[in-house]
Symmetry: C2
Subunit: 322 residues, 2 copies
């Protein structure tokens, strides 16, 4: 079994030698730019890990792994337009550096190139992995739209939030694992259990992310504590608070959220989080999703020794965040 | 052999019963809205016609035909954002009616749904038709970007213009035919000849379109004569004029193009078109592409009686335009 950094090197070496095309230059440059921005490469690493559980010839899953990373980067390019985000991984976003039309079009092309890469897979019939890919890809779009719709609403429930997160970010981790497993020759049941492992881990990651934004330490989080609160972002914490808050505090919360001073706002919301034990609630939910994830992993029919790398990766990512 | 209106009915009946999904509503509504806007459905009709050349069981090509129509509509949704176009087929464009983020995201989803539909094809191995689809899809993106790049340039050559048009619009006609042919069981050579028939017909259509904008009669064209001239659009006519115009007239042309009065501008440019016989040049080029198209069709190895429907369709569309 190869470990994370070995797999990361394989992915990065593959990215370094992959060409997506060159003409017209201002359409293909953003693709190379995005793919070279780096990052944890979590999704393609998961694809290789899942393949490795069943067949150590992981090279056969490499095109599919890259397909998933290209797809992920496509979503970032388009999301950055929708979110008016100027910076991504410390660099200008594509729509800022080039233009909005170029960001739309090079994103479209990345989606097409992702399918191209997936179709290079020869170890397994194309249709089942293409169907997993397409289902997950549609879910990611649905999740992004639901997230945007939440911005217009004040009555989002905890359950709705989890469903949104599952679609927007968690199913892609599940899909990355499932596709790797299928390429490695896994039976459907094992591939599905890995999907559910990834999906539940993904939800736990997002909950952790939401907790850290309000309760982490600045250095670890890499951004200002309370940024989500300052921008009225509908995190799990705020949604839960809105759901459980008593009548009087609800009025108080509304006036706090309308408060223009971000420091005051952050302090006041944190007080309410404490009063209603929101952090404890979120921690408990996170543990529940982690537990569900590991139950699915346990059901995967391969030597438990081989599965440790996935368990280890999930826990380490969680710890690195906290 | 089924004729155009019979095939159109099959396509429209299929569209009427096809669901792409429903939740979230404001993501899926634009897909249904676009697919119900109507139109000639030229591309999916070509797919069925090409299948019909080799195998009269055209139902086997219906999912792929719809895939191509969904793909085409995806390009319209994204192009309308890039072009700031408020109206499409007499109705509001998606980005105007909903929003720019929704237009980006529902367009993305249409591309994914197009691949989904294509993957439903069982009559033939998926990989070859997916590869044709993806190649053409990438070309369409490239063509759109090259077209946008032309807006910044004053030295576009006739040959560059033809290459742009081929990528942006013509190869999709070729791809629609090739995919239909492959599903009908055509050998590669025949499928390639149909691709080249469609590509060359597509170029001829675009040249005709450019001619009509300056020389058609308002009623037939369905829009104001000279609209392309008024908006300084780089049509084949203007590009050719810029390429052949003598030194003195070049200065005159530049001042005309900077003229704010559209009626004056149209008249003055038309005079130069006449002086340099630009219409005759364009007509000749159109005939050359038509001839090349029909030469490729002739090479397709099936009874010539069966091929008449394609010849007839191409000529009728051309006549209906003129």
């Amino acid at each position: 079994m190869k470990n994370y950094s070995e797999l990361l090197k394989i992915i990065n070496d593959k990215i370094a030698v992959t060409s997506y095309g060159s003409n017209p230059k201002n359409l293909y440059d953003p693709i190379n730019y995005m793919m070279e921005l780096g990052g944890k490469r979590l999704r393609p690493v998961l694809t290789l890990m899942a393949c490795d559980l069943f067949d150590t010839n992981i090279v056969q899953a490499l095109d599919a792994a890259l397909a998933i990373e290209v797809f992920h980067n496509f979503t970032l390019v388009h999301d950055d337009i929708m979110d008016n985000a100027p910076i991504r991984r410390g660099k200008e976003t594509v729509y800022k550096k080039w233009s909005m039309p170029i960001a739309i079009l090079s994103g479209d092309l990345m989606l097409i190139k992702a399918i191209d890469l997936l179709a290079l897979t020869t170890a397994t019939p194309l249709l089942p992995i293409l169907q997993v890919f397409n289902k997950v890809a549609a879910n990611v779009c649905e999740g992004q739209q639901i997230d945007m719709n939440f911005e217009e609403r004040d009555d989002v429930s905890f359950q709705e939030y989890i469903e949104m997160i599952a679609l927007k970010t968690a199913v892609l981790l599940g899909g990355a694992l499932k596709i790797g497993a299928l390429i490695g020759g896994a039976v459907k049941e094992d591939a599905d259990n890995l999907y559910n492992f990834g999906k539940n881990i993904g939800i736990a990651f997002q909950i952790q992310d939401d907790i850290l934004d309000s309760f982490g330490e600045g250095k670890q989080v890499g951004k200002r504590i309370g940024g989500d609160i300052a921008s009225n972002k509908k995190t799990l914490l705020l949604i839960e608070l809105m759901e459980v808050v008593h009548k009087d505090d609800k009025i108080l919360l509304k006036s706090i959220l309308n408060n223009a001073n971000p420091d005051n706002k952050i302090n006041e919301v944190l007080k309410l989080y404490e009063k209603y034990q929101i952090k404890q609630f979120a921690e408990q939910k996170k543990q529940e999703y982690l537990k569900t994830a590991f139950e699915h992993l346990k059901l995967v029919q391969t030597e438990s020794e081989r599965k440790k790398i996935l368990e280890h990766t999930a826990l380490e990512l969680m710890n690195r965040m906290s």
